[in-house]
Symmetry: C3
Subunit: 636 residues, 3 copies
Amino acid sequence: MKRTLGICYYPEHWPEAMWADDARRMAESGLTWVRIGEFAWSRIEPEPGLYDWGWLDRAVETLGDAGLKVILGTPTSTPPRWMLDKWPDMLPVGADGQIRKFGSRRHYCFSHPGFREDCATIVRLLGARYGRSPHVKGWQIDNEYGNHSTVLSFSPAALAGFRLWLERKYGNIKALNEAWGNVFWSMEYNRFDQIELPNQTVAEANPSHWMDFRRYSSDQVGAFTQVQTNILRASGPAPLIHNFMTKSTDFDHFEVAKNLDIASWDSYPLGYLEKHSTLGDAWIQTYVRQGDPDFQAFHHDLYRAVGRGRHWIMEQQPGPVNWAAYNPAPLPGMVRLWTWEAYAHGAEAVCYFRWRQAPFAQEQMHAGLMRPDNIPAPALAEVQAVAAELKAMPTAETGAAPVALVFDYPSVWAWQTQPQGKGFEYFGLVFDFYRALRKLGLSIDIVPSDCASLGQYRVVAVPGLLSLAPALQQALEVFDGTVIAGPRSGSKTPDMQIPTGLPPRLPGFDCTVEYVESLRPGLTQPLSGGGAFRLWSEKLSSRMPVRETHANGDPAIVGDEKHWYVGGWPDEAALHRILQQACAKEGLPTVELSGGLRIRDTATHRFFFNYGPEAQVIDGLEVGVAEVKWAPRGAA
Amino acid sequence: MKRTLGICYYPEHWPEAMWADDARRMAESGLTWVRIGEFAWSRIEPEPGLYDWGWLDRAVETLGDAGLKVILGTPTSTPPRWMLDKWPDMLPVGADGQIRKFGSRRHYCFSHPGFREDCATIVRLLGARYGRSPHVKGWQIDNEYGNHSTVLSFSPAALAGFRLWLERKYGNIKALNEAWGNVFWSMEYNRFDQIELPNQTVAEANPSHWMDFRRYSSDQVGAFTQVQTNILRASGPAPLIHNFMTKSTDFDHFEVAKNLDIASWDSYPLGYLEKHSTLGDAWIQTYVRQGDPDFQAFHHDLYRAVGRGRHWIMEQQPGPVNWAAYNPAPLPGMVRLWTWEAYAHGAEAVCYFRWRQAPFAQEQMHAGLMRPDNIPAPALAEVQAVAAELKAMPTAETGAAPVALVFDYPSVWAWQTQPQGKGFEYFGLVFDFYRALRKLGLSIDIVPSDCASLGQYRVVAVPGLLSLAPALQQALEVFDGTVIAGPRSGSKTPDMQIPTGLPPRLPGFDCTVEYVESLRPGLTQPLSGGGAFRLWSEKLSSRMPVRETHANGDPAIVGDEKHWYVGGWPDEAALHRILQQACAKEGLPTVELSGGLRIRDTATHRFFFNYGPEAQVIDGLEVGVAEVKWAPRGAA
Amino acid sequence: MKRTLGICYYPEHWPEAMWADDARRMAESGLTWVRIGEFAWSRIEPEPGLYDWGWLDRAVETLGDAGLKVILGTPTSTPPRWMLDKWPDMLPVGADGQIRKFGSRRHYCFSHPGFREDCATIVRLLGARYGRSPHVKGWQIDNEYGNHSTVLSFSPAALAGFRLWLERKYGNIKALNEAWGNVFWSMEYNRFDQIELPNQTVAEANPSHWMDFRRYSSDQVGAFTQVQTNILRASGPAPLIHNFMTKSTDFDHFEVAKNLDIASWDSYPLGYLEKHSTLGDAWIQTYVRQGDPDFQAFHHDLYRAVGRGRHWIMEQQPGPVNWAAYNPAPLPGMVRLWTWEAYAHGAEAVCYFRWRQAPFAQEQMHAGLMRPDNIPAPALAEVQAVAAELKAMPTAETGAAPVALVFDYPSVWAWQTQPQGKGFEYFGLVFDFYRALRKLGLSIDIVPSDCASLGQYRVVAVPGLLSLAPALQQALEVFDGTVIAGPRSGSKTPDMQIPTGLPPRLPGFDCTVEYVESLRPGLTQPLSGGGAFRLWSEKLSSRMPVRETHANGDPAIVGDEKHWYVGGWPDEAALHRILQQACAKEGLPTVELSGGLRIRDTATHRFFFNYGPEAQVIDGLEVGVAEVKWAPRGAA
């Protein structure tokens, strides 16, 4: 696998006279890829049916002539204003029932059939024109699905689509009433056209209603994607890519990516830390110019799985951004560190966003590799340093991970629909497992919930999984390593009902969750082995041995040799111990990492990343603040 | 008065084959009552005008055959979806102007005349069919009025009704303009049909406008109820009941209950603590598995008054619920404690919600007495223990309380409309008085603001009462015990104006509130007798003696021998002292209770309830954590 | 300049029989002015086209006969309800798309042409009737523009007006697309009628779009005003006044006031402290009964500038108000202190709101000089004391201030649109500079951003100014004192783009802001001179000398002898030092004031105001709590 660098570029933002010089400097800086076009619909088709290809032809050619390979974006995330004259009802509608207006981006509803047709037309024209271009070496489909909370739309188009989807799924209304349990509260329907979207109900809507709407909405992203991928696949050999986002869970990425060749994602470590960290002010303060030490790695491992082994960074933060609550600059060295971390986790390409900071519009305060006055910004030197280093290490094989962690999008929706306790968030639960494994120095594979083969792993963790797909069920049945499950794993049917016989419905787990409790902050349940459950605790009975107990003697963790069930949300200490014990039992060596130091193994090297505020020494190497080092794996 | 147990049951949720066994186990567990049917409209009338009585006939018979007495609920809180085809405008509308959609429950506007007619029809049919049934021994009208904030609806139906109501009240528009003071800000109306609902005004609407809309909305609950009670009263002898809620104040319960025979309420101590407690994290933490030690008692005493001496618990929490922010399990013993506390306060029946936990829909995580897999949940054993104990103490006479506390719904609305200081909440003020009285070991009667007779009391507290009804005015004039009033008592006319001559307008209180201050947290006003006012302080002048002063010498509490006026919101220490002094003066013995220990006297026994985290000894009895004990009253 | 007192009065609220006595007591209390009529439209025109002038004629005459001078308010802020029968679409619409209904005040959209016509009609009639009245000595136009967030209306009328305004500004749609940078995200428009208002877009709207809508909305306030001022100017000699508000920034007050003769404002120090203070609970607690020690002074200096030298207090708080979260009473003495502070800052008149507390409607809990029962409230004695003192000091000349501080309304809008860091608020930044200057004992002039002459000043501070108007640019070019600029000064073009060549675009400042960072609370940047930047920090390069550095040696404050650029938001210590050094360099004497003591010089006297909780001694004078003292300027 070859490691490459790239850049996002907007020729339409700059005088044509600058293009050649920009292209030359990109190439000289060691960049291979240049992504263009994904927001340029109003320049390609300034009026309905009136196309201007000249500027785009010249841009592709200028970039290609400089030796760059073009990723061409389909411009469907920003339809021009004139399209609303034709489809005024294509705008998305919020859960509050308000139309979300034109004037920024992503102003479309995935369900709108007319808009889908217009997308097919523009993509067909793009494919025909550039599908065999010697310079266009990849396609990006749309841009950042789900950004600005646009997967769920409560529009008339979504309602119409949802009713059809339900009719197709259930066949008759009686089946739907039973699957949802609509006898409860007299919610039974007589006809499919009586069903509304689940927003703005008097009390909360039926969780099964929500889950079907979540599945429907996710499916629309897939169907929308397939319209484009079918066309582009036929237009030429270039791989199909989408740039996914961080902590983006409103659609099933595994499903949507099935029609793609590469999963890429947009990595903004500082913006993420500010926006999503749940660990409080002191933690954010410690990592404010570096980002969370595990968050990028998690997404690399996730999108490597989504891309079935192939993943990129399509947008890498190069300096302060404009959109978080607070937008500091990264520490010197972090742009290089983030880039190498991506490679260590198997990324084939790292592209920066963007070449030159735009002086206008919404993102004028978003840094680029060049300042608005066309002078290099601080990050460019770090990119050039990576380019130089790549000459010594141009390729890598992803290492074999000994541990697998299941991640599942419907489980996100299920616990958002029915948290049962404020703060019970599936993403956070899985991420806690991920961080604990990684602090043990382990390399991890994230696998989907329909993963059919677990043979290469020694430990598989399945926290909080809504219900098991048949493939994973079968894989677990034959798996001979240790499976760690719970809390809440296998606790529902896919219809979002409690399964007959009570949870957990997991092969090989001979225990019962009698009832569950959600715990307010401050109310923790100490474990006999140390640490505690917080937020969530289950009353267990078990035919398997009790491994750890609560203060009152009730079982807290139960399990036989190969199946451990964790009946609560373990805090950091408890999770560390549980996972360390499982690894020890399976003969997996672990390391005790402290502070912000992290490790990742490729097939040939061990990489060390220091996110923390102090230099650390490991394996005889001193790793400075914001520094990345590596050593051949034999050396350790 | 006989003490009984009961259960809420949903035969429509379960295969008919299970009914007989369920009924048998209910009866064997000591349950007498079974409430059914209140959400079953879609099964009774699956299509408009098409009725299916068979299943309900069989359910009533099966339960009755097992020896159970049926409370049959009118299903009007969950009209079927098909009714919206007929009355699309029957849905309630929020204060934000948004329609509140079908898909859960309570999806109706009390003002809608068409829906009221359809309710009359279904109730008429139910009454005709079951009004003389040997098994149906009570009717529940609708379910939990006011849940999900459904009393106030800002719908077209409510607007039309409100205009008529105003016209009926005021006769001519000039009278309305004067009563509201509409000359202020040129708000004068020319015609009744110009008046809008008071939501979404540019600045806050006229408080008189709000108060009339609050009164109108409360009246609609009463009128809606009367449609049903008139029909059912004529259909047979069974008593008419509604299940009211905790801290439910959007309509006047005293008024609505005038057409009922029994006031019942739904008691969820843990959910309440999490949802409503204003005492902060440490308090909640202390009582997280027990509930607030005074809150259930307050509602027992309130609903005993609402029911004119007859009250039930229609739904008693048996384990973790699904709807609070956090949902822990009760301590072992609490289900029994809550049950006996209800009896000690005069409840005739305690029914648990629900027999078996449903595995589907919105409440699938709400515990029952049986688990979804039909195995007993922990609470069942406590219920059976109560059933056994009842054999020794099957009846009780409510004791005579020496203290009365006035509670008034329009006062809630008044201070919500015009708090004048964030956090000035009438319910909280009255509840502070209640808790302080109860911590003195007193049994308390709550009385309405039109209470005509106070002869049996020695101390009457009237905090924060908007204005006096003539009956209470006359009762106070002849009352020879001590009246404690203020802050804010008698401070408005019923029109929500400042009375001529300034507050308080209370018979026998010769003092004046010159102006008032609201105080931010941290700004307290120490009292010469100890403790302080917080949140609210009044500048008093008085022809009555000054009892306590502020630091600057201004009068804080004034009063003659029989009339004490408290010119602020007393903190716990101050309130304890004031009330203790009043009781001492009136010769009422008090007890100093600490922690979570509480007392309640019936005519024959003194009960001891320990809500606190440690065992306590009182009157020679050790009362353990989550324990209830009792002793004959002669013994103390 | 003569110093006078006045009162706000509502004859329509009281029986006519009370008027003469009210007027007599006003005059006897030393009041000169009486403002009436501004909310009386429904009494002047009770039905469309039907006028009742009699009561107003008699009210004016009764007041005038008592020797009072009448300020007559145009009643346009409270159009009667019947007008909505004619113009149902004149109501304002919130950013949430919801119509803001009738039922309070300010229920109109500034853009509505029909409403503007009706305003012209009523004002024309008022002018014709009272323009030459011997008693009407001033006009108040409308009332409190902007109160209740009514400047920005998202109504159809505003949309129609905005499109025309844009067409007039840009001429063709291409020019608009370029000015806004609409090529970004394909936001380009083909026609002006495609442009929507910038609310409810999917992601944030283009900042240039917002800025134009902010400018448009501000212009409508000006145009609305001009309709009235043109009429009244022609009707007689009385000066034209508007009563502006505290921290009111949604329209450009300098622009709107160009058609007025006097700028007045409504001063509610306690309500403001509670509503707007950003300094936390301890600060608010310290000043809870006095108000912020610098806030009133800031607004005096601001409105003196807005009024081009002439300013009044139209409404002065006399006791507890009704509208803040908490409403305490002022300390005894504060009403007098606030009044003298206004005079010391050049106010010609101080009018109190209101004569007698109304017992009805929205403001029934708002204190007046008289209680509702017509007995004097505490403030009246303080007003009478001021009246007596005025006999000794009836006139004053405003002193010459040595320091100027630029304040600019579009800069407020710019940083609200694009804060780039939570809490970056222009008003707060300028106010921090103001407070620091004032704590140095300085008298300050606030000047607009088109100020053409700075000759009289030694120090000019220009923090956070969006961009320079040509007049100020020229004035700065010839200014020979010290200019202190930054952070963020001159950082945008008026179109809201980053200027070519990067910020700051300020004459004489030879430095560059390479990029900026926003800093979360707790993340501060210490300065070599002490103190720190917080919230905002800029990466500077400079051809001017470096005055102070960051911990890493980067320049933080740069400047030559006369131009200092501050590359961040200085905390209190840093700002104090920077400004003290500038004053010292320019030979301006400063004083170190502590606690709540403040100074203001007129031409002849130095005034001392003690807002703090303890008495202080300064210049040999002891100034008690809530006390104001003064001394002839020669004496110091």
